[in-house]
Structure formats: C-alpha cells, structure tokens
C-alpha cells in the first residue's frame, strides 16, 4: 500500500465516520475498513472504479465531488479525505469548502509542485515538469490547478482554515511542516498531507 495511505490512516481515530472523496479503486477504503473503521464511504467519478469498489463490498457512490457533495448534510462525517485530487478540480476552493462543511475535519494531500525536481525541470529543460509523482504532459494533465505546499499553506491561513497537523512526505521520510521550516519542506517534499478544520 502507498506510504501516503498509511499516514492518512494514522490520522483517523478508530470507528470514525469517514468519507473518501475520489476513492479510486478503494485501496485506502479497504485498508480503513479492515483496520480503522467500518463506517467508511466513498465517492468516485470513474464507473470502472466504482464497480470495483462495490465488488469489494465497499459503499461507494458514483459521482462528481464538485457537484455531488451537496447531498451530504453538514458535519455528516468525522473525517473527509481528499487524496491528491484537489488540483484536478475546476474550483478547488469550492471543493475545499464543501469538504469542511460535510466533514468535521478533512485530510487533504497534495502533490507538491514546489519540489526541487519540478523546479529544476522547468529551469533547465524549459518545459512543463514531468516527474514520477506528476507523470503527465502539459496537454493531457488532469491537474488544472497545481499548487505547492507553500501555496496551500498560505491559502488555508488566508481562509481561516486551521491546521491540526501538517506533514511532508519525501521518499520514505515523514516530517512535520511549520511556519519556520515551510521554505525547506516546500523544496524537498513530494507530498503534503494536511489535517484541517474550519
């Protein structure tokens, strides 16, 4: 399983009510179901993925987080997870607000566009960065709104979104992010993992 999923699950209390937004093929949900909580739901846009999830016995609805989160009442989940998907939405701010309305807390992870490899790629090659974590070309990327760890950090601060936990993942190393080390983490981390609340 992805290291990121293990970190996410460590942030979730036993028997919490969880919604995984953009749950993919249900890998994280299955892990949560077995180890953390039976009360886990998913929403996923790809039919094939939804069918896989349902076949695994996971409770998933086919839907678009940008349109379909509206059907969930306020604070209907303890935790809402959004794993590396925020950048793919037309309106990430709206989605983030919805996450924090539907969930008491949210876990958001982002692929960090501020990582040094990404920066070097643009600086020396002069082309849009293509890395292991960001494998797409400029013309076929689903990532409409790439951001850096620093961007996300500043954005949340601006919108009065509180950080309960901010973590940076680089290779296998997990480090915490604070205001003082933000520049460094932004340069060396591939993924940012944030537990936030409004």
């Amino acid at each position: 399983m992805k290291k990121e999923f293990k970190i996410i699950s460590d942030l979730i209390l036993k028997n919490s009510r969880v919604l995984d937004v953009g749950c993919g093929d249900g890998e994280l949900m299955s892990f949560l179901y077995k180890n953390i909580t039976k009360d886990v739901r998913g929403i996923e846009i790809s039919k094939q993925n939804v069918q896989n999830c349902i076949s695994k016995g996971l409770t998933v609805i086919e839907g678009d987080a940008e349109k379909d989160l509206i059907q969930f009442p306020d604070s209907s989940f303890d935790i809402v997870i959004l794993s590396q998907t925020l950048q793919a939405f037309l309106n990430p701010e709206k989605v983030l607000n919805e996450l924090l309305r539907v969930g008491k807390k949210a876990i958001v992870t982002i692929p960090n566009f501020g990582h040094w490899k990404v920066r070097l790629n643009l600086l020396f090659k002069g082309t849009m960065p293509v890395t292991k974590g960001l494998p797409y070309q400029w013309h076929n990327t689903p990532n409409l709104h790439m951001c850096t760890i620093k961007d996300f950090f500043d954005f949340c601060a601006n919108k009065n979104i509180k950080f309960i936990k901010s973590l940076a993942l680089n290779e296998e190393r997990l480090l915490s992010i604070s205001k003082s080390n933000l520049g460094k983490r932004n340069l060396f981390s591939e993924i940012g993992i944030f537990l936030i609340e409004k």
Binding site: Q51, S55, F72, S76
Partner: protein, 377 residues
C-alpha cells in the same frame, strides 16, 4: 383443470387492507423458489418482478415454456447465485400468473372479477408478498431486489418493513412515476380500451380477448424499454424480407415487423385487464408524497444497506431519477452505494446480458453476504 393448478401458491388467510379501502382475504399468491434455504434462514433473497414479469424468474416457465425473465442474472452460478442463495419470487397482486388478479373468480358472485377487481397499488403488492416471508418463517432476508416496477417494490418494501432485509438493490427505477411514465402507460391502457373486444373489461366469457389493443400497448411500451441508438443499430432503416418499399402499410421495415412480433407473442401470455391494473399501480406510485414530500423519511428507520443501479441509456427511469433516491438516502446518512452502468440497451439493460451490471451485482451480493457471515449475523 386450471393451467395454474400445478404451480406453487400460498393462500393468504389473513386480511389485507388495500390502499383503495377494500379488504381482501383468502387470496392466492403464486410464487416460485430457487435454491435452498439454509438452516439459519439467512440466505433468502426476495426478487420482485416488473410490469409483465412473473414468479418464474429463471429456468423454463412451466406455463409459457419460455425462458425466465431474469435468466442472465439469476440461477446456479449466476450473479444471484441460486447455489448459494434461496430466491423467492412471487407473481404480483393483480397479475395473471396465478396470483390474485382480475381473472380470478369472485366467490361472492361466482363470476370473474375482470374490471370489478379492486384497484391495487405497489404498496398492496409488497404487503401481499410479506405473507410469503412469514410463510417461510424468515426473520431477516439477505436481500430484496428487482428492476423497474420491481425496484419500486424494493423501495416500498424497505419503507414498510425497515429492518426486514439486510440489503436492498433497486435497479433502474424511480421513487415516483413521472408525467412521461404515466403518459406512456395511459397510451397502453387506451389502446386496450379502444379495442372493441375489450367490452368494458368483460371479455372473459366471450370467445375473444382484446389482443389487438394489448398488442399495441406492448408495442408502445417496448419502444420505451429500448434506446434510440440500440434501435438504430439493430434495425436502422433495414427492410423486412424485401428489396424495396412496397408502397403499402405492410411491415416494410424490420422494426415494424419486430414490434408486431413482440406484440403478438405478448398477448399469448398476458391478460389485458391485468395490464390495466398493474400499469395503474405504477402510476399511483409516489413514495415521496406518501412521506410528506420527503423521500428520506421513507427510509429513516431502516438500517438496510442499499445499492442502487441505473443505466446510461435508460430514458424511462433515467439515472437522474435513480440518483434522487441516492440523495435521499445520503441525506440521512444511510448506507448507500450507487453506480450508473454504461449500456446502450436502454431500460431493458437489467434484463439483458450486460456484463458490467451482472458482475457488479454479483460482487455486491457476495461480498455483502460474506461480510454478514464474518460478523456472525
């Protein structure tokens, strides 16, 4: 000897108060079962049939000698695996395959009910089938499922008996009949009534039935079960056993010939008055209204796990209407999964060989069943 003498029937002695106000008792519910009920009675699935279906969901129908309507989904090794599950399927109230319907004899008059049969509803159908669950002394079903009108019965069943089934799989259905749905049904009913042989519903004693009218009703309905693309692909403007147009009203086109065939085989197995009664029951179906316009209230006492399935090319009960049920369930935090299956086969997709649908249904049932067993329920 009656052709229904050798089929399974439960005579319900209890009284059943119908929505129309009448009370019935001592009435037959014809049913069929597949597979074996296990000792814990925890593997039972109640399957509800659609408008023109019957209790013979799979295998060869002993009356019509045709394949059962859900042969792709139900049977040994199929998505609803009868090697594993005990499946009960009943002919609905108002039907014409042995259950209490307009072709039954009214004991007080000695005559066939025909059009004097009480108007029945989806609610009545479901309540009648509840007696079967009692008959088998099943405390909790594993699943209730069905497509189209069968799906409506699933919704009504969970609303009426919130915790009688572990899981519920309504397929390609709606929580209330739309104006378009009612319009199409009315078209069918008017076709039957316009047939002189209908004779205001009193045709049982005469030599002939309103076959023309019933056949037109079936033709119109059949169009609504298919998608435009599927029709175009299968028939297009192809001509029927001729090289050119005949400049007449014969069935020049293959689609005409196909529809006429569908109509003519239908009248051999279905009763025109039953068609009137059952379509009326569908039109009256409005679960939203029954719960003060709030569909969520229908399910608020239930802990049944739902899985809702719709099909991309179904324009009779489109995904948007299926999704309304999902939304109503989500808004009360119910356990609900939903998928829209890609299919060009229209509303009929649930009856046909649509592998994505069948595999997803199989996966849902089997994993849900295993999980319940693991949890010792």
């Amino acid at each position: 000897m009656n052709k229904f003498d050798n089929i399974k029937k439960l005579i319900v002695k209890d009284q059943l108060k119908l929505d129309c106000g009448q009370t019935i008792s001592n009435f037959p519910i014809a049913y069929e079962t597949y597979g074996k009920l296990n000792s814990k009675k925890s593997n039972a699935i109640l399957v509800f049939h659609a408008l023109t279906g019957d209790q013979f969901a799979t295998g060869i129908n002993p009356i019509t000698k045709k394949d059962g309507w859900w042969k792709y989904a139900l049977g040994p090794g199929k998505a609803i695996d009868t090697d594993k599950y005990f499946v009960i399927c009943a002919n609905v109230l108002g039907g014409c395959m042995g259950s209490f319907g307009p072709s039954n004899v009214n004991p007080t008059t000695g005559k066939t009910y025909e059009i004097d049969f009480p108007i029945i509803t989806i609610n009545d159908m479901v309540n009648a089938q509840y007696f079967l669950i009692k008959h088998f002394e099943i405390e909790k079903l594993f699943c209730v499922t069905g497509g189209s009108m069968g799906g409506m019965q699933v919704l009504q069943f969970v609303a009426n008996y919130p915790n009688l089934s572990q899981t519920a799989v309504p397929i390609a259905c709606t929580s209330n009949h739309s104006a378009q749905n009612i319009a199409l049904n009315e078209l069918g009913r008017q076709a039957i009534m316009a047939d002189a042989k209908w004779q205001n519903g009193k045709y049982e004693d005469s030599d002939s039935s309103p076959n023309k009218g019933l056949s037109v009703a079936r033709m119109a309905a059949h169009i609504s079960y298919l998608s435009k693309d599927a029709l175009q692909e299968k028939f297009g403007r192809k001509l029927q056993e001729r090289d050119d147009l005949k400049f007449s009203f014969d069935a020049d086109f293959q689609i005409e010939s196909y529809l006429r065939h569908q109509g003519s085989v239908f009248v051999d197995r279905f009763d025109a008055n039953s068609y009137l009664y059952i379509t009326r029951a569908m039109d009256y179906f409005d679960l939203n209204k029954k719960y003060e316009g709030n569909l969520s209230k229908a399910f608020k006492n239930s802990n049944t796990k739902f899985f809702i399935i719709s099909f991309t090319s179904d324009w009779l009960y489109p995904s948007s209407e299926n999704k309304e049920i999902v939304i109503a369930l989500n808004s009360i935090g119910a356990d609900v999964g939903y998928v829209e299956i890609e299919s060009d086969k229209g509303h009929d997709s649930f009856l046909l060989n649509v592998p994505d649908f069948l595999e997803t249904l199989r996966g849902f049932l089997n994993t849900s069943y295993e999980r319940l067993n693991e949890e010792g329920i």
